[in-house]
């Protein structure tokens, strides 16, 4: 029993663990991390002439609308990921991308400003993870997760439609079992279950040294508006709100095909907070007058990873995507891609022992973790700006000025773009926002705002 729990990595005499033709791989979870891992593992194995047998275990049917087919997220595929995937040969088709995003509009109590990318190009994709919200009238677009899973299957992955209910060890190999089926032994387990699952307990009990990520609750809702209304009120812009509401780190309204997705991130978002957000005039102005949120709209409160897992690897086991390490609040799908690729290249080119993963996979996770620490600082600064009217005014003035002029540096616009879209590492954003020109201009705009306000008050008095 004890031996079954411990697994084989304590055996110091074990020869090098690696994948070879005929090796069997199980990927538990067919979300983005699982599908990317499978796709790239099989792709690289084929390049080297290694013939693998890979099973993806996934209970969800992504062709179904509503919660049964959905992995609950805002559905933004970041600029950096869209570009990387295009280079990989994965061009997201318009049958999956409901809307290409080319700009965002920042809303504050003091006003709103639209920020365009310098290239004015649609490089961010808005998708639904499943086949659309509950009650969707017409499934015009395909599920993003379903599309990725099909890509993996196109590369030779075999789909096992079922939830893994038990993991054990036998003769030094991990085994996965679904309800009603016998345990299946594998040479490697790629674990990609995300954090919205009870499966993480299965791995804790194996004594691998793995501790699951820390999480917090979020909120997502999909509002039906119809394509024309979405075009008219939201267009191809992501709408981001900097409101002074406690607990709220980030709020966005994302235009999709017929729907707008509301996404709230922060600390334990609850119903009263959601209501206060929806009642805010800055939010109401983005929706048609008299618009009432449909009573039966699809909404959920998924968990989000806010601190990565401890030791997301062991001999013959690697945790990828959300159940391992991901980016704080932004670009989780991009992090799933990065960790999946790092795990796949390690497994193919280096080996599948804990030591191989520690040396070659863990650095990719560690880089994301280190960047998240800087992300926390950025979000703390954003929270302060959210709270202080003078600072909000400074941001608005600076961005408005940059957007009015065709040429010249767009320092604040680009910093905000990267904070909101998750397109650049937090380290880059922090360095750019600590640049003396950036700080000097920001302080100048705050002072200019204060002076303008004093003048207008004095003007009113006289």
């Amino acid at each position: 029993m004890l031996e079954e729990k411990i697994g084989p990595w304590r055996d110091e005499t074990a020869s090098k663990l690696e994948l070879e033709s005929g090796s069997r791989v199980a990927v538990i979870g067919g979300g983005p991390a699982g599908s990317f891992f499978s796709y790239f593992l099989l792709d690289m194995a084929r390049r080297l002439g290694i013939d693998l047998r890979l099973d993806i275990y996934e209970p969800r049917d992504f062709s179904l609308p509503g919660p049964t087919g959905c992995n609950m997220c805002g559905g933004i595929v970041s600029e950096s990921l869209v570009q990387a995937l295009a280079v990989e040969g994965i061009n997201l088709p318009p049958t999956v991308v409901e809307r290409g995003i080319d700009s965002y509009v920042l809303h504050m109590d003091l006003g709103s400003v639209r920020i365009d990318t310098p290239l004015r190009e649609k490089r961010i994709a808005a998708v639904h993870r499943g086949a659309g919200p509950r009650g969707v009238k017409d499934t015009k677009w395909r599920s993003f997760d379903g599309y990725l899973l099909e890509l993996a299957m196109g590369n030779g992955a075999h789909l096992v439609r079922g939830r893994v209910t038990d993991i054990s060890w036998k003769d030094g190999l991990p085994q996965a079992k679904i309800q009603g089926g016998p345990p299946q032994a594998y040479d490697l387990l790629g674990i990609a279950t995300g954090v919205n699952t009870s499966a993480l307990k299965l791995f804790e009990k194996l004594d691998l040294g793995y501790a699951p990520p820390k999480t917090t609750k979020t909120y997502i809702a999909d509002f039906y508006m119809g394509q024309e209304t979405v075009n008219r009120y939201l267009g191809s812009s992501m709408h981001v709100f900097l409101l002074d509401l406690p607990q709220l780190e980030f709020a966005a309204l994302i235009p999709k095909g017929d729907y707008a997705t509301l996404c709230l991130l922060g600390h334990e978002i609850d119903r009263p907070l959601v209501q206060r957000f929806l009642d805010a005039p800055e939010v109401k102005q983005c929706l048609p007058p008299e618009y009432r949120v449909p009573e039966d709209h699809c909404h959920c409160s998924p968990w989000i990873n806010v601190q990565g897992a401890v030791r997301p690897f062991a001999d013959r086991v690697v945790f990828i995507g959300d159940c391992g390490v991901t980016r704080l609040y932004k670009d989780g799908i991009g992090a799933a891609y990065r960790t999946a690729k790092a795990a796949a290249t390690t497994a193919i080119f280096e080996g599948i022992s804990a030591e191989d993963f520690r040396r070659h996979y863990w650095p990719a996770c560690r880089a994301i973790r280190a960047d998240n620490a800087l992300g926390k600082i950025i979000f703390a600064i954003t929270r302060q700006i959210q709270k202080r009217r003078k600072d909000r005014g400074g941001v608005l003035r600076m961005v408005s000025r940059e957007q009015r002029t065709e040429r010249g540096p767009r320092r604040m616009s680009m910093v905000l773009w990267d904070v909101f879209t998750g397109s650049a590492p937090y380290r880059d954003i922090l360095l750019r926002s600590l640049h003396p020109f950036f700080l000097g201009r920001f302080v100048w705009e705050i002072i200019a705002g204060i002076v303008a306000r004093i003048w207008s008050i004095n003007g009113q008095k006289h």
Partner: protein, 127 residues
């Protein structure tokens, strides 16, 4: 073009990349087709027609030369730009990201080889 098409729309004959200009990005065709032509002594020599999923302008990522050809839309085309800095940073982190670029480049070298052999063979047959 649909709301969900990514990249930028180029109208028929619109130039996407101009020969002789300095470039700092590569492009991936998302929808439609584009023509690659080289201007020589005031004449245009057609080099290739590229379609969905093909990329061009990748040489600018690795050398600092000017663009070697002009690329134009054939009909309406939707093309995605990939920034040099973003891509090189990602390749630095994950060299396997360059596999497909190298694969396409080697494919082009094969095609050039075949073309060269054809040309040499026709010169030899003339002699």
């Amino acid at each position: 073009m649909e709301n969900g098409a990514l990249g930028k729309v180029y109208q028929d004959s619109q130039v996407i990349v101009r020969q002789g200009e300095v470039g700092d990005c590569m492009y991936v065709v998302q929808q439609g087709r584009v023509a690659v032509v080289q201007e020589r002594d005031g004449k245009e020599v057609p080099l290739a027609v590229l379609g969905k999923g093909d990329f061009f302008g990748e040489m600018a990522l690795f050398d600092r030369e000017v663009r070697s050809s002009t690329v134009r839309a054939i009909g309406e085309a939707q093309v995605l730009t990939v920034d040099k800095k973003t891509l090189l940073r990602r390749i630095h982190e994950d060299p396997s990201l360059a596999f497909r670029i190298v694969q396409q480049m080697s494919q082009r070298i094969r095609e050039l080889d075949a073309e060269l052999v054809r040309m040499k063979a026709s010169v030899l047959s003339l002699e």
